[in-house]
Amino acid sequence: MDDLRKRAKELLESSTVKVVIGYEQGTANKTRALFVEKPEDAVKLIFDSYCVQNLAVYVTKREIRDKGKMAIAATLPVLRSIIQLASESQVNDNNLLVLGITPESKLVEFSNLAEVETFVHQYQIEIDAHNKEILDKLDKMTPAERWKFWIDELTPCFKCYACRAACPMCYCHRCTVDFNQPQWIPVPSHELGNLEWHIMRAVHLTGRCVDCDACYNACPLGIPLNLLTKKMVEEAKVHFGGYQPAIKGEHLMSTYKPDDKENFIQ
């Protein structure tokens, strides 16, 4: 990704941006987030198939924002996250420059977020075949079997909140689980609290999740918690014709249609 390095160097030298967010080589095969502030450090930037962390998570962090204008190397899920964040007034053209990496690993520079939006809208949010198969399998189970499946999966969770930390949409300064008056979610690693936490997470991400799988990749126990948000993406398609992050536009869950259809309200 020489283009990326070169462009990052130029941007920093000309002081167009103060920090470039990208990936660098970590230990073993792992990659990690890199925050380039000096032009000479731009050579450390890499991009390969191991770069799956959603970097958009950093653009809402005060430690990074306080440095000044940011540039971010963004793959498709990251671009989507950025548009969702823009629609929630978390980023704008004044504080973020986007260096897009297309699914073909080509660098495209966007002059503003509106261009990012146009680019992102070429691609629909699609659940991959492997996960779709799992969703179908779960759908075919009886409710009792599904209950057992989820209780078994969620029991080992010790609520480290890595899923929350990895998710670019979970940027609240104080999350519901951090409150203790009232204590909505029981703190101990207990099935009830685990269940409630994962339901809460899925509900809060309904209509906002960009299906980047950052939560699943971050989970130290490999709990398939992304299935919950994937299911919500699917259900949004079934009931409301799906959604796309858009800078100006209604959010799925903060709007309504008088003729929304359901079949369970008596």
Binding site: L138, D139, P143, A144, E145, R146, W147, K148, F149, W150, I151, T176, W184, P188, S189, H190, E191, L192, L195, E196, I199, M200, A202, V203, T206, G207, L228, K231, M232, E235, A236, H239, F240, L252, M253, S254, T255, Y256, K257, P258, D260, E262, F264, I265, Q266
Partner: protein, 149 residues
């Protein structure tokens, strides 16, 4: 289940269903006494977490009810609530939570008889389903001891 009396929690809006339930009383319609009514300003205020808390506190069934579409006191609260219920119900179903135990309905201030009917129906169906053992088992499970050894 011989001595099982279902516990039903009803989350209702102030303007329609609560008034409707009032009408049931003033009309002297008899209905099952298993229901505990919680009054909210609007269905839009009924948080999904409250439903989960009701189950965690031992409810066997839940009724969520408010104004009919287009009748909301705040114009659009019930429309927002409806979207949320559609998604929340799907999620509950996906996680294996027994959605037969959550009844959503619209009851206007004039529908005292409908309210009695809804309560009676859910009480009868919960009586058949029995206590919500699955959820109760999860709630009761002791917190694991942490070993510092």
């Amino acid at each position: 289940m011989v001595d099982f009396e279902p516990k039903i929690v009803a989350f209702v809006c102030n303007w329609c269903t609560y008034a409707g339930a009032d009408l049931t009383g003033t009309s002297r319609i008899k209905y099952a006494s298993n229901v505990r009514i919680v009054r909210f300003p609007c269905t839009g205020r009924i948080d999904y977490m409250l439903l989960l808390k009701a189950f965690a506190e031992g409810a066997d069934g839940i009724i969520v009810s408010g104004c009919h579409p287009n009748d909301c006191h705040y114009t659009s609260g019930n429309f927002h609530a409806r979207r949320r219920w559609i998604m929340f119900r799907s999620l509950c179903d996906f996680m294996g939570i027994d959605t037969r135990r959550i009844k959503f309905s619209w009851v206007s201030a004039a529908e005292g008889a409908k309210w009695a009917d809804i309560v009676n129906t859910i009480v009868a169906s919960i009586r058949e389903l029995g206590p919500y053992e699955d959820y109760k088992k999860v709630v009761k499970k002791p917190v694991k001891e942490v070993s510092n050894g």
